[in-house]
Symmetry: C2
Subunit: 407 residues, 2 copies
């Protein structure tokens, strides 16, 4: 008899976005003339950089000829892209990462979801709260949690991110083996300083732990003192894996390209205490279960690092950050407390009421859709996330409506 | 202490293609003037269909404008592609598959590798020998095998595919829960009749087993009586998942698009014997660990089903099948026994000697690279695989050289 992985049954059905959709639908039925403005889902809206679409076209033209055609590429990605990343994203920040430590993939979601396969079943995992649900769900599916009770899975060490700690969690009191961190943070928009990040790297080194650092939003860091990569921190090469994506930095959410950095010094242990290269393990996984990213997509990603591409991506980020500034300004004027919005496209707003109540209020009074913080974890209750990903015109309109409704 | 998934340590390092590369390199050093012709790796060589590159360009143009831009798409794939597949690949063959039973992905390798996650650790798995290594390796990584001894993993039921059974394995004698089948087969090129496939479907129904049917090479089926899909067999919707790919049918090995069919009737059980929808489980996995295929790539795949696209893909298949026919003809003239080559791009040749010896002979005497059958499993020893994926001119040259060398 074919039996299922019963850990899947422990998953909590995520009604977050379907609940949101239903409430929006009901509102729209009752207010057919009202145009709803969506500042909920963290998806970009602006066109791909021209440098990327030019390179995309050129690569498709190559594929249209027998001479230029490319079949299977290297599972880890083409050297042209890995080299451009190493130089522009790491060497330029003083972080020493070699091209063969970079694994190109079709998404940071896939990589952050798949990475846990490399580790044993009985490690102790630390996950922030609130959090991007993939970190947690993929560990539930793998059987690393016990039952769900009172909004949390037993067997997970939750790292509370609250206003008391400015949404940067404190080191865990109990020993943990695998630590998920994300800065600039989704959903709170909070950032971490080099000094704070150093305490995590030191913790990992002292405890033979490993940090999974999700830097998908690094492009939005405006403050030069803040780290964009964990490899700007001394000692991180031995204890950290970093996830990056072209989704938010270059508008690739629908084009699909990302990468994961696994330094060669990075080790994990067998039960007997012998160390093993995590780079070797990830390479084996990548080669066995993945067949590389579409060649034209890799060319489009490479073009992000051309002079024209860099300028266009900078302009994309500035565009969204102008939206974020307007959202912050509006919240200031209304007297709401918030985090994010300065080095992040997300604004995390304290509502002094239940998340869903706050959501309903914005929808019903202003016709604006946000994301209720409770959808990201227990510590998210009382908050909403507003995303800066939309047109400036829509954000202006949304903020005017919110001002009017809540003033 | 961060500990590793020690099952990875059981994996047998695959030296197959690196061994081949080393031998080719040595040959080339000793024979610098000899041009080596590669008929080893199963990778296509001809340009993408024009219908696909036209659609690819048009989609990139959409992404270059704010109006046409697409961000995150549905994880399961766009309806336009799922509908085209349902109509052209299934309805046209009398197989009833609805668009929402089709999950678009970036590769059949990924899907055949990931699907095992849905099932429990202690199922009994049947895997053909010789075989595409991904089926086996992903189960080793998941911990479903014991130690490796005498060329095989304990805990796996191997389905011997030999000349005695025309490379179509017999039903297992012991009960099994999950069965991997691939027809037209990689590496043997063998096909299965509807009657033979029916015995597997019946077995699965009688034993509450599940069949994973890899149909990546269905486009090469020339004989109208042979099944292209397992859903042409009555009862298969309840017990079979099918994997398909645009890699070989439309030359997408470097473009990356594939799909997996999970019918809604397909069930697996919990330990208490309650049935669960495999469609729901796979959908959950897909949504949690995957973010959809690149939008322009999905448009390029959709174009495969246009009138022009169909004609071009037919021509691509015919081109490679002409190569296959020439290889078969040469083997006939030399008196070698083989399977495949009629409804498959692979020709599986019995060498009456060790696989590697046969490989070395072809390389050294004819400058032709093939794949030693032993690399695909114990039953592959004594065989080599020759692939029809190359230019006709190269195949003509290779066959002339082989004729001269071995006559």
């Amino acid at each position: 008899m074919i039996t299922i992985n019963e850990h899947y049954l422990k998953l909590q059905a995520s009604y977050l976005f379907s609940d949101i959709a239903k409430r929006v639908e009901t509102f729209q039925e009752n207010n057919p003339d009202k145009e709803v403005i969506k500042l909920g889902i963290g998806d970009v809206t602006r066109a791909l950089p021209k440098a990327s679409t030019d390179a995309f076209h050129a690569a498709v033209d190559e594929m249209a000829t027998e001479k230029g055609f490319r079949g299977y590429g290297p599972e880890q990605g083409y050297a042209f892209l890995r080299e451009a990343i190493a130089e522009n994203d790491f060497a330029s920040r003083g972080a020493e990462i070699s091209p063969d430590e970079i694994f190109i993939s079709d998404g940071a979601k896939c990589d952050t979801g798949n990475i846990q396969e490399l580790f044993s079943q009985d490690i102790t995992i630390a996950i922030p709260d609130p959090v991007y649900p993939v970190y947690l769900d993929t560990n539930v599916m793998a059987g690393r949690t016990e039952e769900f009770a009172d909004g949390r899975f037993k067997g997970i060490v939750y790292l509370d991110s609250t206003k008391e700690n400015q949404f940067v969690p404190a080191l865990p009191k109990e020993p943990v083996d695998l630590i998920y961190l994300c800065f600039p943070n989704n959903p709170t928009g909070s950032t971490i300083t080099k000094e704070e990040l150093k305490t995590w790297v030191d913790y990992a080194r002292d405890n033979k732990a490993l940090i999974l650092f999700d830097a998908a939003y690094e492009a939005f860091v405006q403050d030069d003192d803040l780290p964009k990569s964990i490899y700007e921190i001394e000692g991180a090469r031995e204890v950290a894996i970093e996830f990056r994506s072209f989704s938010k930095s270059a508008g690739f959410t629908g084009t699909r390209c990302a990468f994961t950095v696994v330094p060669k010094e990075c080790v994990a242990y067998d039960k007997a205490g012998n160390s093993h290269s995590v780079h070797t393990l990830w390479n084996r996984r990548h080669c066995t279960k993945f067949n590389g990213v579409s060649y034209p997509v890799q060319r489009a990603a490479e073009a992000v690092y051309s002079e024209a591409g860099k300028a266009e991506c900078k302009e994309l980020v500035e565009y969204y950050m102008k939206n974020a500034a307007l959202i912050c300004e509006t919240m200031d004027s209304l007297g709401y407390k918030y985090d994010g919005g300065k080095n992040s496209p997300y604004i995390w707003i304290e509502g002094n009421m239940d998340s869903w109540e706050f959501f309903d209020m914005l929808l019903n009074k202003a016709g604006v859709v946000c994301t209720p913080g409770a959808g990201f974890g227990k510590c998210g209750n009382g908050y909403i996330r507003i995303s800066a990903f939309n047109s400036y015109e829509n954000v202006v309109k949304a903020m005017e409506r919110i001002k009017e409704a809540l003033a």
